[in-house]
Each structure stands twice: as C-alpha cells, then as structure tokens.
C-alpha cells in the first residue's frame, strides 16, 4: 500500500496528541499524589508562648523542626493591627521585625500559618504580654486585644473576583459541554465539519485560564487578602494545597481534553476525549466546594454531578440550537429531538437541585433560623429558573408546533425566545457562582433562634460522651459540661479548647478553661480576644486511648457578651487532606 503523506501527517498528529494527553495525565498524577511526610511543628519561639515581658520585643523569632515557607505571620495588638514586618526564612527559622512602641503594654497574639515541606499548611496562634511593670505585679492593667471587630479591606474585592471567575468558568463549561452534548443529542454528523470548532477551542482556553485563576483566588481568600495577593506566590501555593486546587486541575484537564476533541485532527479520539473531558470537569464539582462536603456524601456527589451536567447541557445547547434553526428542513427535526431530551433532563435537573438545596439548607430550613444570604441568592436563582422553565414550556407547546408545521413566521420568535432563555441561563450560572461562595446553613449547624438561652449538646457517635455548651446568663462566660451516656458527670484526663477566627486572621489559639463550681468548666468572655465570630474546638481526652473533638461557633458581641451560634460542621484546622473522596474500603 502506498503511503499517503497527508495520512502520515495525520497519524503523526495523533501520536503527538496521545503523547500530550498521556504526559498531561502523568504530570497531574505526580502533582496530586504528594506523599505527606511528617508536618512541621513549632519547636520554639521568642517571645515564648504565654511569656510576660517587661519590655516590648523588637523581633519575633519562630523555630520549626523542618524547613517551612511562611504563608501568613501576624502579630496583632489590642486594636487588631498587625505589627509584624516582612518575615525572613532560613530553613526552619523565621524572623520578623516587630513595630511595638516602647510604651506598648498589653496582650499580643502571634498567629502563624506555614507550609511544611509536603506543602501541608500548619497553623496556630499564641499570646504574649508586655507589661510596663515587672511580671510580679500581675495586676498591671492589660488591655484585651481586638476589642473592635476587624473588617479586612480588599477581601470583598477578592471575593467579587472569585465569584466573577467562577461565573466565567461555569459559562465556558456550559458552552463547551452544551456544544458537545448537542452534537450527540441532535444526531447531526457535525463531527467532521467543525463549524464551532475554533470557537470551542477558544472557550476551552478561557476555561483553563478561569480554572487556574481560581487556584490563586482561593489562596488569596484563604490568606485573608485582596485580589492583589495574586502576585504573591504564597497565594498560589496555598490555593494549590486546598481542595480547590485539586478541583481546578481536574477541570483544567477536562477543558484541555474537550478542546483537543474539538480540534479537527483528533477525530478518532473524539468520543473518548469528550467523555473523559466531561467527567474530569464534572469531578471538579465534587472534589471541592459544597458538593464535596454535603452529607450523605455518595448520594450528594452523584446528585450534584447529575444536576451540573443537566444544567450545563441545557444552557450550553441553546447557542447551537439557535444556529441550527437556520438550517431549513433539518431544523424542525433537531428542535423536536432537543425538546424530547429536555423532557428527561429537566425533571432530573430540578429533582437533583431540590434535594441538594434541602441538604444544604439542612434542618435549618424547618427550624426557622437560617442564614439569610444563602436563601436570598437561592431564591433569586429559583425565580430565574422558573422564568426559564416557563419560556421553555412556551417554546415547546406554542412555538415549536407552529415551526414544525412549516410556518416561516414562527422561526423568528422561536429563535428570540431561545436567546432569552440563554440569557436567563447565564444569569442562573452567575447566581450559582455567587451561591458557591456562600456558606450553606448546614455548615452553621443547629442555629438557635434564642442565643441567650442556647444550650448546645454535642454527642459522640456512640453516645458515650456528651458535651454541653451554654452561655452564662448575661453572656459573661461560656460554660462547658461533660456527661456520660447515663447523663452523669464524666471525669476526663484533659479538656483543651482553642479558638480561631478567619476574619481576624487568628489561627487556632489555645485557651485555658477554669473549673466551675458546678463541676464543669468556664471560659470567661475576656479570654475571647475580640468581637466577631469564633470557631471553638474542644478536645476531650476521656482515657489514654479515647479522645473526642467537638466544634461549635461562638459570637462575641461588640458589648463583650458571648452567644453560642450552634455546632460547626467545618473543621477548624487546615489539616484536611487534599482529596475529599470517600473511602469505600
């Protein structure tokens, strides 16, 4: 057989593309399977944790047991201002100059977040005090830090950018997935002629960019900094180490595959690339974000992917549908087939969406005390969906039969109606992007409508240990009680509490509990460093081999009163593994 040079060229391209895909997968594999070694721990510091100094230190030194890179280092004074200068790192030793005025008496909080060699974040806080008088005269008035709530400038801009990038990501994914599914649904042999091929490749490029950008933005948000932090390698490092990093890489890989599938030279691999691309892109939705953490996890993940696939497929199919309307006789057949598929997809989409909303809204929806923001945005999204459904129904019942009957006049209103539907679709995607950055009520747990009287009871799965939390009347302290399965006071080896606040930039700060007259413990309001929302983590060591961790949310008002805000479903520490996949073994 004579070798056709054109055929050879195509073959070579195939080989090249295959090698590219293989290399991409291998690179991803190496990136994602970072094997965790021992994490860095703080071996020493100056000033030491809990130290009470006579004079303000000019420098902060932290010493870790292994080389680290610093993500965030803050030394906060009573007003919540950061007094630490830029940190210098030599292996495991970190130095930072401190700008504490000589007469700066008071309590200071050192909050650090570093990455150990395995790119695992390690974060904690500790306190030291500077007293004008020697430490022996402990009565020296020491102002509690952070008595005013802290609002970070620039954070809202980063949040806005993250939402915009998310919306862009959803829109491009809808266009690409929709075009791919439309070809399949419409049954047009548009495979070889790539009418929208170039446009799709561009869309995939935008999608890859949006995916990768979301890594940096996630990092910037985690750092508590504005969008300017994108210029900071630490933001990228941190974003990469988060679940969003894994998800973004998965969606970027999906876009690359879909883009390759749209390229005319890869006809043979198109089917596989399309399937792999869509699955990889969809997996991003359950690797990170609300879809990754909702319970029951397996069901939620399947529902979530189904919801996303149907939604993106529907919205994204509309542009090629409008284009197909101009194609004469075939148009009516394509429109009918599309409409038929939508009859299956839309109920799936709505059903899965409603179940997910119920899971996210949690029991809070029925208890009446819910986070307003989340439901506000969800409400807007549902209104848009209702209008879009009405339009689609009108298309199907009124316009489509006329179009099929050959009424030329029906083509224009149908096309315009579909365009309106598309516009609504993009608005819905924007609302979805906004939703993805709202905290669903389920993560706020059982929110009580009467914070003053709130008693929060947290129980271990076996019921062997119960932790009862209560704000003292007047909110001047948080009361902690431990009970066993028979509601008798439980004796334990140790009880440790730590507070953290993302808004104030304070990592897990250990707090001492004082024994209470009633056999429990109390955390005085003064021990909570400042106003705002705090994550409380309580670790109970019942016996040498039995330990439980309880989490709750605590508010300190501007008036200094404490109020419980329910259980906290979100882990406090960043020590969550990068992959959220459920172990089936």
């Amino acid at each position: 057989m004579r070798r056709d040079p054109a055929l050879l060229r195509v073959r070579r391209l195939h080989r090249g593309a295959r090698a590219l895909v293989a290399a991409m997968l291998a690179a991803l594999g190496v990136l994602l399977s970072g094997v965790a070694q021992a994490h860095a721990v703080l071996a020493g510091s100056s000033p030491e944790a809990g130290a009470r100094l006579a004079h303000a230190p000019a420098q902060l030194r932290l010493e870790f047991n292994e080389p680290v890179s610093v993500v965030a280092l803050r030394v906060l004074d009573g007003a919540g201002a950061n007094l630490a200068g830029p940190a210098q790192v030599e292996g495991g030793k970190v130095h930072a100059p401190l700008a504490i005025p000589l007469a700066g008496t008071g309590r200071y909080i050192v909050s650090y977040r570093v990455l150990s060699a395995d790119s695992h974040p390690v974060a904690a806080s500790f306190e030291f005090a500077v007293a004008a008088e020697p430490a022996s005269q402990g009565a020296a008035p020491v102002a509690s830090p952070l008595e005013s709530p802290i609002v970070r400038d620039g954070q809202s801009a980063a949040l806005g950018a993250a939402v915009a990038v998310r919306a862009l990501f959803l829109a491009t994914l809808a266009i690409v997935v929709g075009a791919t599914l439309f070809r399949f649904v419409a049954g047009t042999n548009a495979g070889t002629t790539t009418g929208g091929g170039r446009g799709l490749i561009v869309a995939c490029g935008v999608g890859v960019a949006a995916s990768l950008l979301s890594i940096g933005l996630e990092g910037a948000l985690a750092l508590g900094e504005g969008a300017a932090a994108l210029a900071d390698a630490q933001a990228w490092h941190l974003g990469y180490a988060s679940t969003r990093g894994t998800a973004a890489l998965a969606s970027a890989a999906g876009f690359v595959c879909l883009g390759l599938a749209a390229a005319a030279t890869l006809v043979r691999w198109r089917g596989f690339l399309n399937v792999f691309g869509i699955v990889a892109a969809l997996s991003a939705f359950v690797l990170s974000g609300h879809g990754a953490t909702a319970e029951p996890r397996g069901l939620a993940q399947v529902l979530w992917m189904l919801h996303v696939l149907c939604a993106l497929g529907w919205i994204g199919s509309l542009p090629p549908l409008v284009a197909a309307l101009g194609r004469g006789t075939a148009a009516a057949r394509i429109a009918r087939r599309f409409s038929g598929r939508a009859l299956v997809a839309v109920p799936l989409l709505l059903g899965a969406g409603l179940v997910m909303a119920a899971i996210e809204g949690g029991a809070a929806m029925f208890r009446g005390g819910f986070s307003f923001d989340y439901f506000e945005v969800l409400g807007i999204k549902l209104c848009l969906v209702t209008v879009m459904l009405a339009l689609a129904l009108w298309n199907r019942l009124a316009l489509l039969p006329r179009f099929e009957a050959g009424e030329a006049a029906a083509a224009r209103p149908l096309a315009w109606s579909i365009r309106a539907e598309l516009l609504l679709g993009f608005a819905i995607l924007a609302a979805a992007a906004l939703l993805s950055h709202q905290l669903p009520p389920r993560s706020l747990g059982a929110v009580s409508s009467e914070p003053e009287a709130a008693i929060l009871e947290l129980t271990t799965a076996s019921g062997s240990t119960r932790l009862r939390l209560r704000a003292a009347a007047g909110g001047e302290a948080l009361l902690v009680e431990l009970r066993d399965a028979d509601d008798r006071p439980l004796r334990v080896q140790s009880l440790e509490m730590a507070l953290a606040s993302a808004a104030a930039g304070i990592e897990s700060l250990p707090r001492e509990l004082t024994p209470d007259a009633g056999g429990g413990w109390r955390l005085p309001a003064q021990s909570v460093p400042g106003a705002g929302r705090w994550r409380v983590e309580i670790e109970v060591l019942v016996s040498d081999f039995e330990r439980h961790t309880f989490r709750a949310l605590l508010d300190k008002g501007a008036d200094g009163r404490l109020a419980l805000r329910g259980a906290d479903a979100q882990p406090v520490d960043a020590d969550v593994s990068g992959s959220q996949s459920k172990s089936s073994r």
């Binding site: 895909v21 094997v35 081999f545 882990p571 172990s583």
Partner: protein, 179 residues
C-alpha cells in the same frame, strides 16, 4: 482497535489514580498490613515514622481490640516489651477448649529511644477474630521526651480516616483462610 481500547483503559486507570484515594499517611503511625484473613495468626508491626515535636520516642503503647487473642510480642533490643491484662467478667472458651479468664488489653514497649528522624517497627503475633468484612482498630499512644501523639481517632461510619489528624492504625479482616 485493541490499541484504542488499551489507551482508553490506561487513561481510565490514570483518572482513577488521580481522583481516587491519593497515597499519603506516611506521617501517621500505621500497621505494616492493611488486610489479613479473619481468624488467622498474623504478625503485625506498628510503624512509628517520627517523634513528637522533634523529640525522640520513648514509649509505644498499643490498645489490643476486642476479639484479638494469643498476643505475643517480639522482643526488641533496647526496649522492654510487656502487656497489660484484663480479667474477663465471664470466662470464655477458646478454639482449643481452654478456659480463658483474662485477655491482653494493651501491649507496650518502654525504655528505648527512637530518634525523630528515624522510623522503627514494633512487632507482635496475634490471632485475629473470626469476623470477616470488619475493620479492627489498634489505637496507639506514642510518648516522647516532649509531648505525646495519640493515634487513636476512629472514623465515624461513612467517613474516611484520611480526614482525621491522628487516625488509629486499622486492619481490615478479609475472607477466612482455607486450611
């Protein structure tokens, strides 16, 4: 066609490897085995990968889960190995017809020194309970010159141990061995 299929399979395997369980957990205290036949005699070794806060390990204590019997420790030079026994409320009869009045609740190794930058294994021989398709947890307390690691967290039903900070070493019991 075969090549196409092979490539497809390879790509799917790569996908699973990517998004499936990623290999980590080297930092934790683990067992050298992940799975063993139910009802079998097994050598199990607890692997300690690092000290606490950079200081050397001095004591390793292992809680023996219920149902595990015939515990024997492998002597370890430089360490004093021993067990803590607990009397049973109701005596039981073992497979050989002997009456058992007490069980081993804890195995320990003391008095040695394992540097933070080294790892070591602490081995024992046990008879596993005859209950296939269950998971046994061997909580470990590691005491160092400074600080303690408690590898004692047991995942809640439906949760992954990977979400835990200090998970207890786990052993999955498989189908019983044919004699």
């Amino acid at each position: 066609m075969i090549r196409k299929f092979a490539f497809f399979a390879a790509a799917m395997a790569a996908t699973l490897a990517l998004f499936g369980p990623a290999g980590r957990a080297q930092a934790h205290a683990t067992l050298d085995l992940r799975e063993a036949p139910a009802g079998s005699y097994q050598k199990l070794a607890v692997r300690i990968g690092h000290g606490c806060e950079g200081t050397p390990t001095r004591v390793v204590r292992v809680r023996i889960p219920e149902g595990v019997s015939s515990v024997k420790l492998q002597p370890k030079p430089g360490w004093k190995a021993g067990v803590v026994r607990e009397k049973l409320a109701t005596p039981q009869t073992d497979a050989h017809g002997k009456t058992i009045t007490e069980v081993v609740r804890e195995a320990y190794w003391r008095g040695g020194r394992l540097e933070d930058n080294a790892f070591d294994e602490f081995a024992m021989q046990v008879k596993l309970p005859d209950s296939p398709e269950t998971t046994l947890y061997f909580p470990v307390v590691q005491e160092c010159d400074k600080g303690v690691h408690r590898w004692i967290q047991i995942p809640e039903a439906g949760r992954s141990a990977r979400e835990l900070k200090e998970p207890a070493p786990a052993l999955r019991l498989g189908a019983p061995q044919k004699h």
